[in-house]
């Protein structure tokens, strides 16, 4: 048996050629890196590496273009769906996707998201929901769970004061313009594989002109949640999944 691990015949895994070599700024334990890798893999597997436009958000994924080798617009906070709308309409032959967090998509960009989905823009929206504003230091977002502590609700989210956690994906699924709305996670290897399939389906829908696809990924933000990566993933399972239930919400 050849024990040379560098030998091509022993290669079992290789990073996508779309994943750049820059050191990621994400905190250890963060889920963004995993999702980035899957997006890169799907684009490459679809043979779309020279045919893709991305609108990345304001939030932790603001530097997405440093890690995924696609032509990218660095959007203003919440405006990625409007930017993607124009890019797709002016370049109908290209794969156009946005990558947005819960603050970006469901708070400041709720209007742009809702209307892009309602128009049925042929774009894919990758939505990372970790129930917190990660980049600015862990403030409450629309999807922060009831009772969950953040830097702007230090005693826990009080629905009388802050309203209720928002299941924005369910709202978007109600719109005629969306064709595929799914809620996934990346906390286990099996979940990662399912999420990758969902991303592929969303991208294929976009290219087939079926309307807007949304892949919500319920993710851990251990730094913002002030937990170890392991604790954060347990907390995710115990607290986030019962409210943000995984699975397809709409598939038409």
């Amino acid at each position: 048996m050849n024990n040379n691990i560098i030998a091509p015949e022993n290669l079992v895994y290789q990073k996508s050629s779309l994943v750049k070599d820059n050191v990621m700024h994400y905190c250890p334990g963060c889920n963004h890196g995993t999702v980035h890798r899957m997006i890169a893999e799907v684009i490459e597997e679809m043979g779309m590496q020279d045919n893709t436009l991305c609108a990345c958000p304001v939030g932790c994924a603001v530097f997405l273009y440093k890690y995924i080798d696609v032509d990218t617009v660095e959007s203003a906070h919440g405006r990625a769906p409007a930017i993607a709308t124009a890019m797709k309409r002016l370049h109908p032959d290209k794969l156009v996707f946005t990558y947005q967090g819960d603050g970006d998509l469901s708070a400041i960009g709720a209007g742009e998201t809702l209307h892009a989905c309602n128009r049925g823009e042929n774009i894919a929206i990758i939505f990372i929901n970790n129930a917190i504003y990660g980049m600015t230091g862990g403030q409450m977002s629309p999807s922060t769970l009831e009772g969950m502590k953040t830097s702007t609700c230090p005693y826990g989210r009080d629905v009388a004061l802050n309203g209720y956690p928002m299941k924005i994906a369910n709202v978007l699924a109600e719109l005629e313009g969306t064709c595929y709305v799914t809620r996934q996670s990346v906390h286990t290897a099996a979940a990662v594989r399912k999420t990758k399939k969902a991303i592929r389906k969303a991208f294929e829908n976009s290219m087939a002109g079926k309307g807007t696809s949304i892949v919500e990924i319920v993710a851990a933000c251990n730094a913002g949640w002030k937990m170890s990566p392991h604790e954060a993933h347990l907390w995710l399972e115990e607290n986030m999944f019962p409210f943000y239930q995984l699975g397809d919400i709409k598939d038409k």
Binding site: D69, R79, H115
Partner: protein
Amino acid sequence: MEEVRLLKGNEAIALAAIRCGADGYFGYPITPQSEIMETLMAEKPWETTGMVCLQAESEVASIYMVFGGAACGKRVMTSSSSPGVSLMQEGISFLSGADLPALIVNVQRGGPGLGTIQPSQSDYFQATKGGGHGDYHLIVLAPYSVQEMADFVDLAFTLAFRYRMPAMILSDGMIGQMMEKVVLPPFKPRATDQEIEQSCPWALRGKAHSRGQRIASSLELDPAIMEKQNVERQERYALVQEREVRCEEYCCEDAEYLFVAFGSCARLCQKSVELLRAEGIKAGLLRPITLWPFPSRILERYASQVRRMLCVELNSGQMIEDVRLAVNGRVPVVHYGRMGGVVPTPEEIVEELKKSL
């Protein structure tokens, strides 16, 4: 063959956009400029030139749709009126920070706030001094006729692409709504993908993998690099100021009294000059066509020739600050302005000049 039509200023903008090879229009309805989008939707240019037209959900969405198109090197535009243009300021700042060309049309109405739907020039400061956050300028063109509404669309796009910065047509409800004879510009085809690739080597074309990644961004966290980008931008602005000043001098050679006015007010002042000259008073009009870059050097020349300058504006006195800076105290500069949507008559302007004699 030349096509001559009787058109509203707003309609002229729309037809000129289709004819000058615009790739996209994104807008939101607001009086007194809604005819721009209405005309485009009636013309259905997507069936002829392939131009994309879309009614957005807000002015905020409109300007970011423009951002998306501009990032791809496309000739894209939006139009609005004062309150809507205020909403767009974040996006205009982002376009400026990302060095992207685009066209924004502001058919001004009186303000502040919801204000009125009648004409005004009270967005002069906003248009010429930046408008949103950060150090930036727009190229600002001020049409004074329906013909110029048509002609300035292609000019604004050309300048915006030449200097990689947004351009604005600063009009008002009077020029937008009035009807005049217009010679429509000839049809110019939209740029092909190949032409965009050649003329806009920065444009996002989705080909990161084979020819290197392109990013449209206004973000840079390293202050040293950010300063460098700002310095480069200011150097470009200096070039624009050197090369792109446009103004019209009307009866200025022997003028003793000089009106300085732009857009609709310049139109009124033209008549006032005629009325004054009929009475033997040597009046002239200097009409800035580019409000930024401002024709400071040309104005300066008249400081030693004329006895007085009268700035006529539909505001409380905005452009007058630039006029005073240009002449630097060498000649008295007085202001006559109406606000809140009131437009003076040429006779009222004549009386105002006589008051200052």
